[in-house]
C-alpha cells in the first residue's frame, strides 16, 4: 500500500529550519541517515525510506519542529527509540516523511516507589529504567517485552506485551503529556490540573479519558508517560509446562483461561510453539539441512534435542509465599486434570536470593536471534490478531494460521498469550531478507492471514507499516465507521496533516 503514499512538502526547507532549531548535529539528512532510519528488516528498505531525521531534546524542540513541518508541509513520523522491529522499526508508512527521533528525550522524570509508578520520557529504554531500579534496589519490578532494547513509553503506546503481571503495557498507562500538532501541550487525566499529584495515580479524573486515544494513533507527540509498575513480591514461583501435539492448544487455552480469569495465574501465560524457542537457540540449518518446510519428524528431533514440547509455557506467580503456594497447588491440579505435563517442579525464588532468577522483568535481546532462523540477513514480521479466550475459537485460529504458513512454505511459529477474557496471538514470520522467494511468500502469507482471519471474524491489534491500511480496512462495521471517525478526529487535531500520516490507517485529508 505504501507506494501509493509519498510524502510531499518542501523537505529541504524543513531541514534548514530544523538546523536553526536544533543545530547541525541533530539533523540527519544524508543518504546514510536515510538508510539508518529505514526498516532494517524490510526486503526493500526504500519502500518506506524516510527523507531523514531530526532529534528533539525537549518539548520546545518538538513544538518548533511541528511548526516548521506545518509551514513546509512536511510529514513527521515520531519514534521513541525506533525498535519496533517486526512492525516497521524506525520507518514511516510514507516514504519521504521525516523521522522525529525522540530518543534523546530520555529522562526518567519520576519513580514513585510507594505508589508504584514511573514517569518516563519517550527515549527511556527498558535497560535505562532497569538500571535505575537496580540502583535503588528494585523497589518496583518491570514488565518487559521479549526483546527489550526499545522504549518503555513507545512499547506501551503501541500496546506491547510482556510475560509479567503488568504485561499488558498499555493497560499500565496513567497520565501523559502530549504535544498536539498545533504545538499545544496537553496533560491528560488529573494532570490537566497544574501540579496535581494524582496525575499518574488515577484514571478517574473529570471528563473524558484520553490516554488510550494517544495509543496507536497519530494525534500528538507523547513527550511524557506515566506507567504503573509492580510492587516487588516477597516470593515468586514458576512452572514450565509442555504439550506434545499441535492440537493440544485447545486444552492448553481451556486450562489457562479460567485460572487467569480467577486470578490464580498472575499474568497472561503464553503457549509458544517449539520452532520459536528453537530459533533462539540456533539457525534452522544447525538443526536440519533440508529445504522446504521443516518436516514433522525433523521437528520431533529438535524437540527431543532441546527438551521441548510442541507447545511450551511458563506460569509465574508473584506474592507472599503462603498465597502463591496455595495458587501453585491449584495450577498443578488444573494441569494434572487437563493431562498437561509439567517440565520439572515449581521453582521458588525468595526475596534476597539471586535477583536474576526472580521472574522480574529483566531486559534482554537474546530472543532477537530468531531472525537468523533461515540464514542470510534475517528479518521477521509479526502477525498479531486478538480474540476472545475461547479455546475452540483460538484452536481454529491456530489451525487456520498454521495451514496458511504451510501453504506458503514458512515454518510455523506462534504464541498464544492467554488472558481471562482475551487471547493475543503473536505469530512471527521469520525470513531471509536477501531471498526474493521469501519476499514473495511472506507477503502473500501475510495478506492471506489478514484476509482469512478477518473472514473468521477477528482482527489484528497491531501490524507492520506495510499493512496498516489493509488491517484498518478489516474494521468494517457500519461502512468502516471507526476508520471514518478516526479520520474526522485526525482532521481537527492535525488539519495540515503533518503527524505520522497513515499510522494505523489514519490519514489526514490531504492524503486521503
Amino acid at each position: 500500500m505504501s507506494a501509493d503514499h509519498i510524502a510531499t512538502g518542501d523537505v529541504e526547507r524543513f531541514f534548514d529550519g530544523a538546523r536553526t532549531i536544533l543545530g547541525e548535529d541533530r539533523v540527519f539528512a544524508t543518504e546514510i541517515d536515510r538508510k539508518a532510519y529505514s526498516d532494517q528488516m524490510a526486503f526493500d528498505m526504500s519502500a518506506h525510506q524516510p527523507a531523514g531525521a531530526v532529534a528533539a531534546r525537549s518539548v520546545e524542540d518538538v513544538q518548533r519542529l511541528l511548526k516548521a513541518a506545518g509551514e513546509a508541509k512536511v510529514s513527521l513520523w515520531p519514534i521513541s527509540r525506533g525498535k519496533n522491529f517486526g512492525y516497521g522499526g524506525t520507518a514511516p508508512v510514507q516514504a519521504g516523511a521525516v523521522i522525529l527521533d525522540l530518543s534523546q528525550m530520555n529522562r526518567i522524570v519520576e519513580i514513585n516507589e510507594d505508589l508504584g509508578y514511573c514517569v518516563v520520557e519517550p527515549g527511556v529504554g527498558f535497560y535505562d529504567l532497569f538500571d535505575e531500579l537496580e540502583r535503588r534496589g528494585h523497589p518496583l519490578w518491570m514488565s518487559v517485552p521479549g526483546n527489550a532494547w526499545g522504549s518503555v513509553a513507545g512499547n506501551a503506546l503501541e500496546r506491547g506485551v510482556g510475560p509479567q503481571s503488568y504485561g499488558d503495557h498499555a493497560a499500565q498507562i496513567c497520565g501523559m503529556e502530549v504535544v498536539l500538532a498545533d504545538g499545544t501541550v496537553l496533560r491528560t487525566g488529573a494532570g490537566a490540573m497544574k501540579d496535581n499529584p494524582a496525575w499518574h495515580t488515577t484514571r478517574n479524573s473529570y471528563g473524558p479519558g484520553w490516554d488510550q486515544v494517544f495509543c496507536q494513533s497519530n494525534y500528538g507527540v507523547v513527550t511524557r508517560l506515566g506507567l504503573w509498575l509492580m510492587p516487588p513480591p516477597p516470593a515468586t514461583m514458576s512452572l514450565s509446562l509442555q504439550m506434545p501435539d499441535p492440537d493440544d492448544i485447545e486444552k492448553g487455552i481451556a486450562m489457562f483461561q479460567p485460572l487467569r480469569l480467577r486470578g490464580l495465574i498472575d499474568h497472561d501465560a503464553a503457549w509458544v510453539s517449539y520452532v520459536g524457542i528453537a530459533s533462539y537457540v540456533g539457525t534452522r540449518s544447525s538443526f536440519w539441512k533440508g529445504d522446504g518446510l521443516l518436516p514433522e519428524e525433523e521437528g520431533a528431533k529438535i524437540r527431543q534435542q532441546l527438551g521441548l514440547g510442541w507447545w511450551n509455557a511458563e506460569v509465574n506467580l508473584y506474592g507472599p509465599e503462603e498465597v502463591i503456594a496455595a495458587k501453585a497447588r491449584m495450577v498443578s491440579a488444573a494441569a494434572r486434570e487437563a493431562g498437561i505435563a509439567a517440565a520439572g517442579d515449581w521453582r521458588v525464588w525468595r526475596e534476597g536470593q539471586d535477583f536474576a532468577l526472580s521472574k522480574s522483568g529483566i531486559p534482554g535481546t537474546a530472543g532477537m536471534s530468531m531472525v537468523d532462523w533461515y540464514g542470510g540477513r534475517g528479518g521477521h514480521i509479526g502477525f498479531s490478531p486478538v480474540m476472545p479466550s475461547d479455546p475452540r475459537l483460538a484452536a481454529e485460529q491456530f489451525r487456520r494460521t498454521r495451514a496458511l504458513y504451510e501453504k506458503h512454505g514458512v515454518d510455523y511459529y506462534g504464541a498464544f498469550g492467554v488472558g481471562g477474557r482475551q487471547t493475543v496471538a503473536v505469530n512471527e514470520i521469520l525470513y531471509n531478507r536477501d531471498s526474493a522467494d521469501h519476499r514473495n511468500r511472506v507477503t502473500a502469507l501475510f495478506e492471506e492471514l489478514i484476509r482469512e482471519t478477518h473472514a473468521a471474524g477477528f482482527g489484528e491489534y497491531r501490524t507492520h507499516i506495510d499493512f496498516m491500511d489493509q488491517v484498518a480496512a478489516t474494521f468494517d462495521f457500519n461502512d468502516h465507521a471507526m476508520v471514518r471517525f478516526n479520520n474526522t478526529i485526525k482532521d481537527v487535531l492535525d488539519p495540515a496533516g503533518i503527524l505520522a500520516p497513515g499510522k494505523q490507517g489514519i490519514w489526514p485529508a490531504r492524503f486521503r
Copy 2:
C-alpha cells in the same frame, strides 16, 4: 453557573417531531413531566428544569430524535435511568433542554459466563441484571454502588464505584456502541469489525481506544455497553475494622494502601465516618435534638449506641479459601501492627451457603435513607475529589474538608476509598431542601470545597450539574488546555451543539 445557560431552539417543533417518531405516549411535555425530570434533590427544581422528555426504545429512535433535535436546534440531555442523585438526577445542566430518556432501552444483550462479561443497554438497572444473574445461579458476580436503583451502564459511564473487587466501574468497560450526534452508529474496540466476538473481551484493538472518551462526556449517546463481571469465588472473607479518632484516618490509609497495591485486599476498601453510617439508621433528631453542628460528645454517644468507630471499614477477600485465608492473616497482622482494632472476627462464606452473606454486590437502596438526616424533604450532594493514596495528603484533605463542613455548620460525612495508587474521597453533604438556610450553607460550602481542594492541588472526578463549570475551571494546566481540547472535539462531533451542552463543563460553540 447554570442560569447563564438557557437552552434555545424550537422546543414545540421538536416535540411535534418526536410525537411522529415515538408516538404520543413516549413524549413527556407537560408541567408534571417537567417536574418529574427535574433534580428531585435540588433546593430549587426550576434551576435545571428541562422542557420535557422523550423516551427512545431503539437505536433508530435515538437517530431520529437526534436529527429532529438538530433541525430544531434543541438540546438533548441523555439519561440512562436518571438516578444519579447527588449529582443532578435526571436534570440537565441547561434549563430548557429536553431529556433523552433511555430507560426503555433495557435489554440485557448478552451475559458471557465463561468470559466474565455482560452487555447491557442503558436502561438495564442493577436490579434487572441481578435478577437475571440470580435466575442463572450467579455464574458471575456484580459490583454495585451504595444506592443501586440506577443504570448499570450509566453508573459505569459516570465513573461510579462499588465496594467489590470490580468496584471501579468505568475500569470494567470494554466495548460500546455509540450513536454520534450526526446519527452515525459507532462500535468501539474490536466491535469496529462486524461481528467480532472479541468486542467485549479486549481493549487491545487496532488504533486509538475510545471507550473512556465516552465516559463523562457529551460526545455521543451510548446505546450498548460491555462490562466485565467477576467470576464467582469459592469463598469470601470479611472483616470490619474501626478507628476511634478522626485523626486516625492517616494510619488507616497507610495500612490499606500497600495491602491494596500488593493485591492482599481485593477491592478499594473505604473508611466511612460514623455520621454516614448513623444516617442510614435514623434521623439526626432520633439521636440528638439540638441545633447546630453535632457536638463531639453527642457523636460519641451515637458511636457507643451503634457500636461504631469514628472511622469504619469493611475488608472483603474473594477467592479459594486457602488463598484468602493466607491473605486474611496478613491483613490481620497489618491491622495489629498499625494498632487498628477489628470489630469482631473474620466472617467466612463458602459456596452453597446463604448467598445474601456472600459479599457479592447485591443491589439495595437502604443507604438513601441518609437524606433524611436533617428531616424535612431531604437531599444530598456529593463532593468527590480524587487524590493519590498518600496517607499524609489524604489526611490533610480530610482535615481541610471537615473544617469547611464545620465552618458552614454541616455535619461531616466522608468516605475514603483507598486504592493502591488512588484514594477517592466521596463526601456527602446532607441537607433539608426545604430550608433556605441549608441552601445558603450548602452552596457556600460546596464552592469553598472546590476552591480549597483546588488550592491544595486536587480536583473532583465527578460533580453535580450545578458545579460542572466551576470544577472544569480547576483543570488549569496550560491555560486550561484540556477544557479547550474537549471543546474542540465537541465542535467537530456535535457541530450543532445539541448533545448535553455543559456536561462536565464541555460546551459546544453555540453556548460558549
